[in-house]
Symmetry: C2
Subunit: 415 residues, 2 copies
């Protein structure tokens, strides 16, 4: 019997034996998710694969025992784990959470959480967040949809911080939600004295039980343990490799913040309130999209390569107001002529793209590129994948890209 | 007689006539620099080219008449223009400066400059800064070297803001300087009431006559007209598409600031003093390098394409501490095995790369990637071009990349 994706297998190669779950692989090599949560890539040459167990629902829909609601007076929160835990001594990134991820563990580690809600816990993935894939966003969105359908009053998603902003943006586009959907992570693992693990988790639970019915990221707002920001899922970016307050709202103010330890929520931007929207799911997307960054003198080869290699959409990180060298313009036109949407964003990160001011910009627009407004390049990429999943035809896709769908485009940027 | 690069030509195509200077072109199309400073790209099909005048020294080494020192008590500053002027009503980007760029014009527009120095003015280029090329950095560095050799007490380079940080980094690596080399630009053109044109120019002149003998960027420090930051050339980034205080020092404090209108300089970081270093020039570089940005689920195809298309060096903008998905690791190894240095930086922009913490990172290091420390991805790219121009052999190039050459790597980052 042939082993298929998500089957449990044993792989022997050059004297080493691995056991794990067979993961989707783009490259032809064997990708195995080990019990400890790590993925390994193994060359198919000289590897022998033995099937241990058929696709068990081990990755999706695994509910740990004992992780059920207990106090009927408190709201019910579903915690979906993608690569970490807010409960254990193991950090969000490496996240070996499967067995010990129970309500009892949570209460034992962070007793304060017990005052806030009852928790239903599901392990969706145990991966490092740099190994997330657009396909996984869809599965995660389905799991969120399922939990809300089953009555969850709020969702907490634990996630590695590296690509949390990409997942937050994806869920923002995929789900219309009547309840809060909160992504939370930790910059420092729980076994370090400076860990942000517990405080972030407590603030996330406060937001998940609040009336803020949006996809948001809740992480430390300063280097002290005094508050967490509540960032809109489409306006947030990891802006530091290691600081606890690495996450910042860009081109928008945060929705608000959660004071700690009081758990008091103060909002400073308008937001969608609990129950205002009906639950719906549009999780289809086209992952074959890329970001290309323009740098001084960069050859148009990369643009040409992507246009000719089956990519369905391209986001350019231009300079300043959204520029590339004059030599790139005909290649942008080639791409858009071939039905590949090209979205212009800025590597400045802050501010708004405006290609109407200078000749280069106007040429870029004439070549069919779409201004990404004040969208983050990474958010424009995720949105483009989603737009291509929702609509066919350049005109419709471009229209979606120009329209604010989930707070990703603000009418005017503070300056 | 065949028209060659930098010759003055007339191009007729489909009823339109252009006159301008024939520029180097990568794409096979005709690139013409018009009198107004813009470049146009024209398809060779159905275009007829008439030679008007042979390569006159119009682009390089053009000294405008009347732009010479007049007051012997004041220091002599050379202003090298690359695409703009601090004198005229025309903005830095479009920069139609050739004819009116004289000392008289400067004094007429910004009389305060006359109190600070005598000015010797040279037009090096008149291009939009997104059309800068690594080859032009070398020419600019040679011009700077020439001016200092000829006795200039300081250099001001006027530059479009889009790629100013790339040029500043390039000059930082190419030139050891005994005098200040100041890049300055304008986010708002001189004909707008909110223009930062004059104040930036005055502060730049103050720094060019100071004892700060480094390549630096002098631009608005706030949205008010109260001070300009003095940024180290390897630690500065354009962080906003339109704000006047778009330029920020990253992972380092600025060298200092210039108060306005007092022109008082306050330094807050250590710096190289006037006369401390002997003038030297190492302008050789290898432009065939690229930045590749890792995004969730990004295919390793782009890495494979660049490794196999004659690229001599690659900078990866990874996530967080410097990560890519596990699937990229063998392709990094392929590149380094083929003698292509791979430098890992972070798209977080702030903070330091550290690939020793997690398995993915350690695998990336084992595959031969070099940690970019706290270098900006763009600076790492420029440095890699320069390192490949200076040294052959992976070991030597990697050693240069790991060593602080011009303040681009700081030992510890504020957190």
């Amino acid at each position: 019997m042939q082993a298929e994706e998500y089957d449990r297998v044993r792989v022997e190669t050059k004297g080493t034996v691995y056991e794990g779950t067979l993961m989707p692989s783009q490259t032809g090599s064997i990708v195995l998710k080990l019990k400890n949560g790590y993925n390994v890539g193994i060359s198919r040459d000289s590897a022998s694969v033995t099937l241990l167990r058929k696709k068990e629902d081990a990755i999706k829909k695994e509910t740990a025992p004992g992780c059920q609601a207990t106090n009927k007076k408190l709201p019910d929160i579903s915690i979906l784990s993608t690569g970490g835990t807010i409960a254990s001594k193991i950090d969000y990134r490496t996240g070996a959470v499967t067995s010990q991820f129970t309500a009892e563990d949570i209460m034992a580690s962070i007793p304060e959480l017990g005052e806030i809600a009852n928790y239903n816990c599901r392990v969706i993935y145990s991966i490092l967040s740099e190994n997330m894939r657009p396909e996984y966003w869809s599965e995660l969105a389905c799991a969120v949809h399922e939990e809300i359908t089953n009555g969850a009053d709020g969702i907490i998603i634990t996630h590695g911080t590296d690509t949390m902003m990409y997942t937050a943006a994806a869920l923002s586009f995929m789900i219309q939600t009547p309840v809060p959907i909160v992504l939370v992570g930790s910059q420092r693992s729980a076994d370090r004295p400076s860990s942000d693990n517990a405080m972030n988790a407590i603030c996330a639970a406060a937001v998940a039980t609040s009336d803020i019915a949006e996809v948001c990221v809740v992480m430390h707002g300063s280097t002290s343990d005094d508050f967490c920001h509540i960032h809109r899922g489409t306006k947030v970016r990891k802006m530091h490799t290691s600081r606890r307050d690495a996450f910042q709202s860009i081109n928008a103010r945060p929705i608000g913040h959660v004071e700690y330890p009081s758990r008091k929520i103060k909002t400073i931007s308008s937001y969608t309130k609990r129950g205002e929207k009906k639950l719906s799911l549009n999780d289809k997307l086209e992952p074959k999209c890329a970001i290309i960054k323009y740098t001084t003198g960069a050859s148009s080869e990369s643009l040409l390569f992507h246009s000719g290699s089956g990519y369905r959409g391209i986001v350019i990180e231009g300079t300043g107001l959204g520029h590339v060298s004059t030599e790139w313009v005909p290649y942008i036109k080639n791409a858009t002529d071939a039905g590949i949407p090209v979205i212009m964003t800025s590597q400045c990160i802050y501010g708004r793209v405006c290609d109407r001011v200078y000749d280069t910009g106007r040429d870029i627009l004439k070549a069919g590129a779409i201004e990404g407004e004040d969208m983050l390049p990474e958010v424009a990429l995720v949105k483009l994948m989603w737009a291509l999943g929702q609509a066919s035809g350049m005109d419709k896709v471009n229209e979606i890209m120009r329209t604010d769908m989930a707070g990703e485009i603000t009418r005017s940027t503070r300056s």
